[in-house]
């Protein structure tokens, strides 16, 4: 479950602690139930990425209450925040793969950080890469993959630890229609397995093909919830 109550996010110019600030997010309130699927829509610059960052604890809110997977995000110690992040899978628009690691090692990274036994790591990573159709590219480096393949590696890395919450920020932004369709089938399949899922996109055709509750944003405000 993800709950936002009157959440604001305010930025100052880098390096300044005083002076004028701009509100990136204003008075955001919503609730996503456990196992739910939710679109996060709105034009570029509406605040979708900022809202996702708040959910995966990459930013603290300037004001308001955030609860993620039953945990109040305010006042979390660094170790507790890290442990909560391990329960969240994130797919970034720019993939964020580690260029010097193979496909296998990129996907294995969350499991190794969680100190899973290497035998389990190997089995789970192989399984998830088969699932995303990259079972034959274990040893490939990210630079050798197409954009769609890199996105699938990013998905595999996000879900390999069986997260309770999956966040995807414009996951189809760099993909053609066929790849985008395939990716959405993967994401909805995960959701059907019980993973709470939030997908940020400005592709309304995609939203139309997969009807689900929607958080629609404009200029940092939530203008539609439901």
């Amino acid at each position: 479950m993800v709950i936002f109550e009157d959440v604001w996010l305010r930025y100052r110019e880098p390096g300044r602690t005083m002076g004028p600030a701009s509100d990136v997010l204003r008075a955001i309130s919503f609730e996503i139930p456990d196992g739910g699927f939710c679109w996060l829509t709105g034009p570029s610059g509406a605040g979708k990425t900022s809202l996702l960052k708040l959910i995966y604890l990459a930013e603290p809110p300037s004001r308001g209450q955030i609860e993620v997977l039953g945990v109040d995000a305010a006042g979390l110690k660094r170790r507790q925040a890290a442990m909560l992040r391990r329960r969240i899978g994130v797919v970034y628009q720019d993939f964020r793969l580690l260029a010097h690691l193979s496909v296998f090692d990129n996907v294995a990274l969350p499991m190794r950080l969680a100190r899973r036994a290497e035998a389990h790591v190997r089995a789970d990573v192989m399984e998830i890469l088969q699932w995303v159709g990259l079972g034959a590219k274990l040893e490939a480096m990210p630079a050798m993959l197409s954009g769609g393949e890199q996105q699938r590696v990013a998905i595999a890395r996000a879900v390999v630890n069986r997260p309770k919450l999956l966040l995807a920020d414009e996951p189809t932004g760099n993909l053609d229609d066929e790849q985008a369709e395939r990716l959405m089938r993967l994401i909805t399949a995960l959701n059907q397995l019980g993973t709470t899922t939030v997908v940020g996109t400005h592709n309304m055709n995609l939203v139309a093909r997969y009807p689900a509750p929607r958080l629609d944003m404009a200029e940092g405000r939530l203008r539609l919830h439901g």
Binding site: Y56, L57, A58, E59, P60, R78, R79, A81, A82, M83, L84, R85, R86, V90, R96, L98, H100, L101, D105, L109, P110, R112, L113, A114, R157
Partner: protein, 290 residues
Amino acid sequence: MARLFIRRDDLGLRTAMGEALLPMLVGAMSFLAGLAVAGALASGTLARHWQGDTARAVTIQVPANEANAVPAVLAATRATPGMSDVRVLPVAAVDELLKPWLGDDVAALGLPIPIVIAADGPGGDGSALTASLTRVTPGVLVQTGALWAARVAALTASLRACAAAMLVIVAMVAAAMVTLATRAGIAQRHFEIEIIHGLGALDGDIARRFAARAAWLALLGGAGGSLAAGPVLMWLSGLAAPFAGVAPQSAWPGLSPALWFVLPTLPLLAGGIGWATAQVTVRRWLGRLT
């Protein structure tokens, strides 16, 4: 130990912190530390030698024109408590001592060379002996080694303080170099760090990766510096052997045996400095991530 170093290079630190500069600089620091430690140990050896023999040495000079008082001076000296091995130095021995200043044929100069009496004393400044001998013959001059021994002790203490200060400075410079190398590594790998932080890595997970790399590089540098210091120390100890009272031909002239235990610990200390410094540097940097 193996877990510290044989670790998957998730952050690509073998590339980001792969330059030979850090081991070379830490090696230079380790070399200097080896010299400082050897200096401190050698000054201790020197001080023990001087304080043992020299502090007890007493030299009594009887003016040449009072030579007939020598038997009385000898008797008074032998009668003084704590004095032993009282003897008149042969003229040849005195000439030998004066040779550097007066040349080979001292007698030919016709100078009034004093009669020199040597003895082992109880230490101290010899004022009681001086007072006693002055009553026998007023021109007598008493010198004890205690003054020189005290000066050597002060010199030794200051040498040790300098060596300690040098070790502290060397450690600080080594830590500064590790800090710079770690910051350079962070600058190169901040994107990767942010990714694994986002995946749920603990600060300790990230800091440990940098610390292991820094410790390994510092350990290598420290080992190189210690190895390089060995031959140089042997050469220097050969030069210092006459002052330390050992024969230059001996296997390790003048080097304290303790040095051969200390030198191998320098790489470990360097590794420890690398580990701790990288931990602090990375954790402070991670503080800016939420």
